[in-house]
Subunit: 161 residues, 8 copies
């Protein structure tokens, strides 16, 4: 099981880290790279073209503003590409979101919420889990623990009011 | 290989049909249902809860306006859920898009473009293809044909100018 | 008189508290719970289904981002449901607002302003007051005091200029 | 049981009619009026001030553009006021929605979706039903029939594929 | 020469002050009041109705969120009403702006920029100046000084580069 | 009494006509011109600079898209300038509105609603009426007739239900 | 003098044609191609990489929705790239505009208005004219004729009122 | 080689500085001026009209809010004008962007991203480079160094994980 996380700028890593961490905690091999659709297009395109043969099964592309990286990766690979829109200093992430989610017909990108790195990682796990029963099993546990955490918070709030 | 397409209203079917058709053309079994997160929540939730055990591997949820269906399906299943925002008569689809893509941490939905039904189907195929080599092979063909179609249009335009 | 306030995350409580406080100050019994349409859908749905029989008369649902909680509660109950959109770290609350207010035909949610918790509480009181004259009477007083507070501020400003 | 529907312009009636019809079909007395917060403010304010004493229990205010009518009615009455934003020829209803839903603290308006007249009527019925068991009973039936209609559409779609 | 500045909340005064100051510096009599279209509608309406007879010539209405105050004042007076949209804690002032500027046909409000208090004051002065030559004369001076200030900043920047 | 209506393109005239007509019907002299801030800047600027001395008292500037005309006129004249944002084929008039209403400090433009030509004309009349009692008197009549028209529509609707 | 116009889809040609025509009318050699950043990335990238050596001096990239084409061309070439956002069936062109104009630091795209094909062509001419005096001379004429056309429309309108 | 940078306010300089610095570092003569389309229209227009004859080859216009400066400069000059939208205290720069990019047909402005000053400078260099081979050569180096910087960041991230 191998997932690539490609981000357009290393300044995106503090946001992207949640995706990296959740994937690692499920035992997935993660390659985390800085490549830009605009500043290093050759690197990004070469990576996307080779990703299938290098054993990657899912690609997460994270980028901000006119966020072309996930779409370019999807154009150059048959792998499922998850797009993670990064909020930048203007437009509150709306530019990143629309640049990623509004892909024209023929080349889909699976967009998650603005700065939704944890969900990008979880979505990659859900995709892997259609093939790997051990990821599926862990995902069931994760979902249960998440529910229990909410229930505990509910109980805490009740006890305080 | 079995994919579910759940739509919130049968009036969404003319848009959703592109997803259905592409999946069928790849030989995938598709169950196409009308269920509403608001009007038939029990049906929708029961479907989502049983989907894994009934052999579904991907769910596509299509809905408009305050489009809760994909998120509710994702909340009740471990399967990857693709959200397809349907443009309605007001707000140009922005309400549908934000209701689907901005999922809170823990429960991802893989959003495609507003009315991007073909891409919803293609994304489901890309997800299936990490497990089924025959889908992967077809997808390579599809991508090649798509490129050739663009090249042909390019040639046509050249010949007309 | 019994009102339920359901929030999607305990981190919403500092905002939600204004609704809780105003209801308590009018002598209404309030049950304040943390339940998520996505992380604990069973709890949320069970609560909504039983709410009428447990004597609740109004439900307030508070949630952020793709804020499905009020709509899901409304789908599973005949009680009037007030939706309180919570502003999150991106999109300035627009996602929460549209996810709550743009409900499709058949299942209304009574939306108040983004982070408008006091108004959510006041609206619940106005609804209760069609049945409970003592709430109506208090509400008349509240409205009068509110007007007097504005008049006092007006006088203060006049005296300072 | 008496509900007032106030609209800012008679050109809003074709949209508003859904609210009127559903209320009548439940046996509610409905007074349907054209009054403007800007062109006939005295009428609108006098109506709102007298509404409680004339036996109205809920007010629906429908208006477009800078849609002040519901807020002005709410400012002059203790009754619950439902705001129905009407889509006009520019801005796709966003101006109407924000003018209605973003009410400042102290004076709530219960906003429904843009052009969501049926939901405005249903919300009024849900509010009435906290006092009138016969409305509650009918509402249970309505909700059941709505679910059955969706199920029938689901069956129809199944039979056609 | 008498101008009224009406604001919906005394918390708007720090923004509104620029309008007050510029009017005073031109020798205009200014009455600065806190009145709310929602919390003290009677006061606001009475003020607007009497404004013409009390000698006011222009009204500035400042309000935030669902900002109905300028529109309500304009509905109850024949005087020119300037609307000053106040930025609040959500929506970045877009709600205030649309609530003020999108007035329906028949009752105009002269909207200035979000938080554009100085311009609200200057616009009032321009309106007064069609009647009062001494204001017109001062306005010519003001415009000249403003230009000179820009030219001085231009010279400063040149000298620093 | 003389008002100038300047529009950026003659294609704006069908919208602008409402302003022209209402001003004429009040007996105001109106000069209606096509000048562009971008295509004929010299004409537009010369007009604005001479407007005061040629006896104009109010200028209405109508423009669409990046609608600079009203702001440029306001920069070159001390007269009150009313900005009328014209809806164009994209962006639903939001670009026109923001380009007109968001004027920087020092140079106000009095913005009305998108395509709100009647209100632009009425606002010009309200401004003139601070100097011309005969306009003020007519405006009182206009407001009364407008109210009566609404009341008649109200009566009509009542009689039909 | 050689300019390339690259569009993402041949369906964009009816819009793009204005750019083609104006360039041709100035005597510029224009190569007009259909290439997609997503469907034929190799073609698009190869074109951009070779453009300088093949004698192109400006590239116009036209695309809709998540419009990555101009940015990808700019990433692979040192030539000035003009981005022309095409309005598609949803979002009124806002997605195209933000995807094109919000380019991250280091790789500029010169964006024109949504569907602003004529301006894309004119901008290319202005760029060429810094090197080619004959284009500059023609551009002076063009600007003069444009002004005269506006003045003629102004005269026509005057004669009709 | 001479480029003009005109900004609407000296408060824009901290943003604009990136354009100035990159141009200087390429050896371009830069004149950096504060002129306002609204407060000093004569200066701005005179500058634009003389720019060609004073040897300027590109103009960068930076402005915020209703940002008319670049459009006015473009209206008064045949030189290519780059528009740099400055983010102001409200609207997150959307007003500036739309006021600059949505120029009507006939007068293009080459818009870059909100606060995208570096890209404004780089775009000016790309335009100059169609005439000046030494700028073109430097630009090739710049692009290579930018790619190497990304690759170094990629390597750094790899070494830390």
């Amino acid at each position: 099981m191998k997932v690539a996380i490609i981000m357009g700028s290393d300044s995106d890593f503090p946001v992207v880290k949640d995706a990296y961490d959740i994937l690692k905690s499920f035992g997935v091999t993660v390659e985390c790279r800085v490549m830009s659709a605009h500043r290093t297009p050759d690197k990004a395109i070469a990576f996307a073209k080779n990703a299938e043969h290098e054993g990657f099964e899912v690609i997460i592309g994270a980028a901000g503003k006119a966020a072309h990286l996930p779409g370019v990766l999807a154009g150059c690979s048959v792998l499922p590409v998850i797009g993670l829109p990064i909020k930048s200093s203007t437009m509150d992430g709306l530019d990143s979101l629309l640049s990623i989610v509004q892909m024209p017909s023929g080349v889909p990108v699976a967009s998650v919420a603005i700065n939704g790195a944890l969900n990008a990682g979880l979505l990659a796990l859900q995709i892997l889990s259609i093939k790997y029963p051990e990821i599926r099993a862990q995902f069931h546990d994760y979902k249960k623990q998440m529910a229990e955490a909410v229930e505990k918070k509910d109980a805490n709030l009740q006890s305080q009011l």
